[in-house]
């Protein structure tokens, strides 16, 4: 089952396309990192997936074909928006009761136990809690709904490193215990590199990369060799990014076995593993997708690893 599927999805605000031509499919069971610089369209994509925004073009469906925003979709998705919006004048206990009343299912014992464990007093107003506590409260409310898909928009932005660790531990525990799929956005990849096993990369409103992290890492290489031969070497691969120094050139290339263009590493060149951060940076810096197609670019009709 795909927890998120979009086809030709686009959202236009006034004359600006916040997101365009986005086609992807995220299978269940992953912690998906949605990354991209500020203004890349991450929040827009999430809003479209939870039904807060109406698409200008294309369509989004969730949880195996439910239209985004439909009753079944709302029932199975828990969304924590950016800055964890809570009613500041309501107490944590009231927020809990409110969420229970607004949903079919709500695991109150779980929520109460978690708040107790986190040391969040039920009588304290949500607006008086610290940023980390507010984020944890919002996450607890979302998880107590026992969703099948948890969508978190920049949940780590307002947390200190310790709170980030606690927050991610909660998310990982829910994944392990409950099998919930997670989509989590961030403009900084570093803290997700070790936990995310699926990556969606957006840049300037366009999908750049979508795929399982292991597949992406396996299908990319950094080739290092003499700068003089860089052009001839580059001709044989799909180069995502080329960095040339005086003597040496570093080429980040797409070199998976399925690509007929890629051959063995030429003599005098060395191949290295690529790190996720290098890969993301390279795709973000790559000028256009027409010449340097990523694994799942929409102009390419090949479904590749994205839409399995």
């Amino acid at each position: 089952m795909n927890v998120i599927e979009t086809s030709g999805l686009g959202k236009c605000y006034g004359r600006t396309w916040a997101l365009r031509e986005c086609t992807l499919a995220v299978p269940a069971g992953h912690l998906t990192a949605l990354v991209g610089p500020n203004g890349a369209g991450k929040t827009t994509l999430m809003n479209l997936c939870v039904g807060l925004a109406v698409p200008t073009a294309g369509a989004a469906s969730v949880l195996g074909g439910q239209p985004a925003g439909s009753p079944a979709a709302l029932d199975g998705i828990a969304f924590v928006a950016q800055d964890a919006p809570l009613y500041k004048n309501l107490s944590a206990g009231d927020m809990l009761h409110l969420t229970r009343n607004l949903n079919r299912g709500f695991d109150r014992p779980y929520a109460q136990a978690r708040l107790a464990e986190l040391g969040i007093p039920l009588k304290k107003k949500a607006g008086k809690l610290s940023g980390g506590q507010q984020a944890q409260l919002a996450l607890t409310l979302a998880l107590a709904r026992r969703p099948r898909l948890l969508i978190l928009d920049e949940p780590l932005a307002m947390l200190d490193p310790l709170a980030r660790q606690d927050f991610m531990a909660t998310v990982m525990a829910a994944m392990a215990d409950d099998g919930v799929s997670v989509l989590l956005s961030s403009h900084a990849l570093a803290e997700l590199e070790r936990v995310a096993d699926y990556l969606i990369l957006l840049s300037r409103g366009q999908l750049r990369v979508a795929g399982e992290v292991d597949d992406l890492l396996a299908s990319h290489r950094v080739l290092t060799g003499p700068a003089a031969e860089a052009d001839s070497c580059a001709g044989r691969f799909r180069v995502i990014q080329a960095r040339r120094a005086a003597a040496q050139a570093h080429l980040l290339v797409r070199a998976d076995g399925t690509d007929p263009d890629s051959g063995p590493v030429p003599p005098g060149w060395e191949a290295h593993q690529v790190s996720l951060e290098e890969l993301v940076m390279a795709y973000l810096r790559a000028p256009g997708d027409a010449e340097l197609p990523g694994p799942s670019l929409t102009q390419h009709n090949e479904p590749t690893e994205v839409a399995r």
């Binding site: 827009t44 809003n47 939870v50 039904g51 807060l52 925004a53 109406v54 009753p71 079944a72 709302l74 029932d75 199975g76 998705i77 828990a78 969304f79 928006a81 800055d83 919006p85 809570l86 009613y87 500041k88 309501l90 009231d94 009761h97 409110l98 969420t99 009343n101 607004l102 949903n103 079919r104 299912g105 695991d107 779980y110 136990a113 978690r114 464990e117 919002a138 998880l143 709904r145 026992r146 099948r148 606690d166 531990a169 909660t170 525990a173 829910a174 215990d177 409950d178 099998g179």
Partner: protein, 307 residues
């Protein structure tokens, strides 16, 4: 950090029944407690004041009407006391009455959606299982019923309080500042003000500008009704009786809309006081229809427009 084990999720093939409507009763109560307490509390406090002051006024008025002969110095003293002291207070309260629906619309109606949109909490509320159209319908309906009921009950106390001043101040039930505060019109105007506020809040998305827009829109509608609309309710009669509105002022005088001549016959188009309730039903009827339309438009906007 210890982590709690979560029970298995509910079976997914169970028919998806929507969250029951009744759950919104607590939600609305908890989130709008200030409105739901302060509107009845303020109106209740004023009603108590009207009741206490009204007893004295009714007493003064009974003494005044029993005073004979009316031209005597003693009676004239009573009369001037009544029209100065008592009427000054009643007139002030009458002005407040004519503004009250607009204030209720601005303070109770406008923030309902504007606060969610301004603070960003709509991103929480509209992504819960309840569904945002149903959430909007339930909230607006409950709050509308509450403020309309409070206003309707309050206006009955005011009608009783104000009754002695009609004859004394040459007012009839059709006078501009009287008609809208009497009968069921006050409740209907409160309802429409609330609906205007809710729609303004959804359109403008900020509390203070939405409140200002509500006051402006309500005032425009009330003025237009008073100046142009009310006389066209299809309840007027035409008579050739030239004495329909002659002689000294009487509280039962009809509302004369126009007079014209054909030959020597004087025709008068008028609405008799006996048609007060039909007039009230026409006014309340179209205000109710307009309110339903405004709330439906608000729900439609919530459904259509987002983020």
């Amino acid at each position: 950090m210890t982590v709690l084990t979560m029970p298995a999720p509910p079976s997914q093939d169970a028919a998806l029944r929507p969250v029951p409507w009744r759950r919104m009763a607590w939600v609305t109560w908890r989130q709008h407690r200030p409105t739901l307490i302060s509107v009845p509390a303020v109106l209740g406090a004023v009603a108590v004041f009207l009741w206490i002051a009204g007893l004295k006024i009714h007493h003064d008025y009974a003494v005044l009407t029993a005073c004979h002969p009316f031209s005597s110095t003693a009676c004239q003293t009573l009369n001037s006391a009544f029209t100065s002291t008592d009427w000054t207070m009643a007139n002030t309260l009458n002005i407040f009455m004519n503004l009250a629906p607009a204030l209720i619309g601005a303070f109770a109606g406008a923030p309902v959606l504007a606060r969610e949109l301004e603070t960003g909490t709509y991103r929480y509320a509209w992504t819960q299982g309840f569904g945002r159209e149903r959430w909007t319908i339930a909230k607006l309906a409950l709050l509308a019923v509450a403020v309309t009921a409070a206003a309707g009950a309050f206006s009955q106390v005011f009608v009783w309080f104000f009754q002695p001043f009609l004859a004394q101040e040459d007012l009839t039930v059709f006078s501009a500042t009287v008609f809208a505060t009497h009968g069921i019109a006050f409740a209907a105007w409160t309802l429409v003000a609330f609906a205007i506020g809710a729609l303004a809040g959804m359109l403008i998305r900020r509390i203070v500008p939405a409140m200002a827009a509500t006051l402006a829109a309500y005032t425009g509608l009330a003025l237009a009704t008073w100046l142009f609309l009310r006389e066209h309710y299809p309840l007027a009669l035409v008579t050739s009786n030239p004495n329909i509105d002659s002689g000294p002022f009487n509280v039962n005088d009809p509302w004369v809309l126009s007079t014209w001549y054909t030959g020597k016959t004087q025709w008068t188009r008028y609405i008799p006081v006996s048609r007060f309730w039909p007039m009230q039903f026409v006014e309340a009827g179209w205000l109710l229809a307009l309110s339903v339309l405004l709330i439906a438009a608000t729900v439609w906007l919530v459904r259509r427009r987002a983020a």
